[in-house]
Amino acid sequence: METLWSVRRPVRDLRPGDHAWLAYANEEEQRHVAGAFVRDGLLAREKVVYLAGSVKDAVPGVPSDVPAGLLTFLPIGGPFDPRAAAGAVAGEIEQADRRGLRAIRIAADLTSALRSPDGLERTLVFERHLERTVPPSTHVTAVCQVDRRRCRRAELEALCGSHTVLATPDPEFEDAVLKIVRTFHPAGLSLSGELDASRHAVLDEALAAALSRDGTREIHLDLAGLGFIDLGAINILADIAVRRAGPGRLVLDRMSPQLHAVLETVGWTMLPGCAVSIPAVLNSNPAQPDSPGGSPA
């Protein structure tokens, strides 16, 4: 069953009572999204409880000077014991309450739990415990994560269905007219809203950051949500594309038919080095920017 997410929320906007879901496509996405969740919590002097396999240094987003006792790492042993894990989480919450910490963040990477014997059943039991703890709470927020590459579609769908909120990356830029969000699979940026001269500098900056991150890989621009692009922005894209012509092309994805037709009118010869994915044009029934369970890559 594909759930249409009624609530998609950038991590910075998650609130107490949110039991959120993140099926990350790769380590970068995990670092970026779960890392922001952990970092923001620790910087705000909230309690952060991190569940994962057994590698303690895998906690993403930990700032250099964390006050003692704010971060607790709970290893997921094998076989995964969901009741013990839920009990440990409940114990951490209780302890934090006693210490007077005003908020608690739970970040759980359940990939190893899911991959242990009877993994899905055990993980779902854990999720039910969490669901009883988090949503009624006024000070606990949880983000459950899995590595989408290591999960079967049915597992993703079952787990995804036990969460009410989808955690998305914090936008690189957002105002009333334009939003720019990092994408991870493929790597690049998703642009939505309208792009005109008053926001060229923002586009430049976001592209420059994407380029420095992604070296020689292709950079994809997901244009599904973009209703308008001005000629100056097309010029900026062409400029980037020319500088990257070769293996690390700039690829334009999922344009609206109107946007695509504008570029056709201009002529693709005007955009040397820009590649267009196939199919580059959205059909008349645009989908959600990301489907929730997604298709495992």
Partner: protein, 310 residues
């Protein structure tokens, strides 16, 4: 490599074929990329006669190819670019019927622009004019827009040819009607053009433009307004009104600019070149007119409502 741009004045099908068939075959012999853009029924006649050359010659129907002068320039530019390193040998027959006076003027200007746009391309273009059918006016201006002439079997340098910049300046002098009093006016201020785009999109849809021409118009207006904000002098604003089937948008500012008669007509090689913006604006609308003087700079964009947009 210089362009050979030659008008062919002919009468009747036999004479047409007697010049054009050897012309196209010569292009093949010299290993040029050969295209024949011709009206029917001559197009079919050429296909039959030259069938032995298979796909070596590319054929286009003028009725499809000559619909918007700036699009046609772009399409020839694409043919020249994609044929490299070979040069192009084109039989290029424009369409002269079915245009109003303003449109015909743009096609005449187009013939003149060919000399600049493809000056260094090494291409050869032979432009047939049916002297038995076309108006004396069209035949007369053909002589001003082609440096070479093939007529009555004589192949000559054409003394009546006029330099395209001079010719274009003449085209611009006589045009442009006044704005009606009922035109709506919106001031343009601040860098955020979101509101202006929403206004133009709304007027475009009310006028009955399909979504695509509406989006094209919004993109064109946005570009001209952004130029005005960047280079112009306030006050600046947009007037819009309906003129029959046309929706007209005029962006004006108080700046003094001296564009050349060729401004926005010369296709850039890429979006990175100067002139990309105005060139694209010309592609996005049916007609762009530019007037600059001591009273300011005014760019008028015109889009026609059609039963089916192209």
């Amino acid at each position: 490599m210089t362009l050979e741009h030659r008008a062919l004045l002919y009468k009747g099908t036999d004479e047409f074929l007697s010049f054009t068939v050897p012309y196209l075959e010569a292009g093949l012999e010299e290993d040029q990329a050969v295209v024949a853009v011709v009206r029917e029924p001559h197009l079919s006649a050429l296909r039959d006669i030259l069938a032995g050359h298979g796909a070596a010659i590319r054929y286009f129907d003028s009725a499809e190819f000559y619909r918007h002068p700036v699009h046609t320039l772009r399409d020839y530019q694409t043919i020249v670019a994609t044929s490299l390193p070979r040069t192009v040998c084109a039989l290029a027959e424009p369409v002269w019927d079915g245009w109003d006076e303003r449109q015909r003027l743009e096609w005449i200007r187009y013939e003149s622009l060919i000399n600049v746009v493809f000056a260094g391309s090494g291409a050869r273009a032979l432009c047939p004019y049916d002297s038995g059918e076309l108006s004396p006016h069209v035949l007369d201006v053909a002589l001003r827009t082609h440096p070479l002439l093939l007529s009555d079997g004589r192949n000559d340098v054409n003394d009546e040819y006029i330099d395209p910049a001079t010719f274009g300046a003449g085209c611009d002098r006589a045009r442009r009607t006044d704005r009606p009093d009922a035109a709506e006016y919106v001031t343009i201020e601040g860098a955020d053009l979101h509101g202006l785009r929403a206004f133009v999109a709304e007027r475009a849809l009310t006028h009955g433009l399909a979504r695509q021409p509406a989006q094209n118009l919004v993109t064109a207006v946005n570009e001209v307004a952004a130029n005005a904000l960047q280079h112009g002098i306030p006050p600046m604003g947009l007037w819009t009104w309906r003129d029959g089937d046309d929706l007209v948008c005029e962006i004006g500012d108080n700046g003094f600019w001296q564009p050349s008669p060729l401004t926005g007509f010369i296709p850039p090689d890429s979006a990175l070149q100067r002139g990309f913006g105005l060139w694209t604006v010309r592609l996005l609308v049916d007609l762009m007119e530019l007037r600059a003087g001591w009273d300011g700079t005014f760019v008028r964009l015109r889009v026609r409502r059609r039963p089916v947009s192209y």
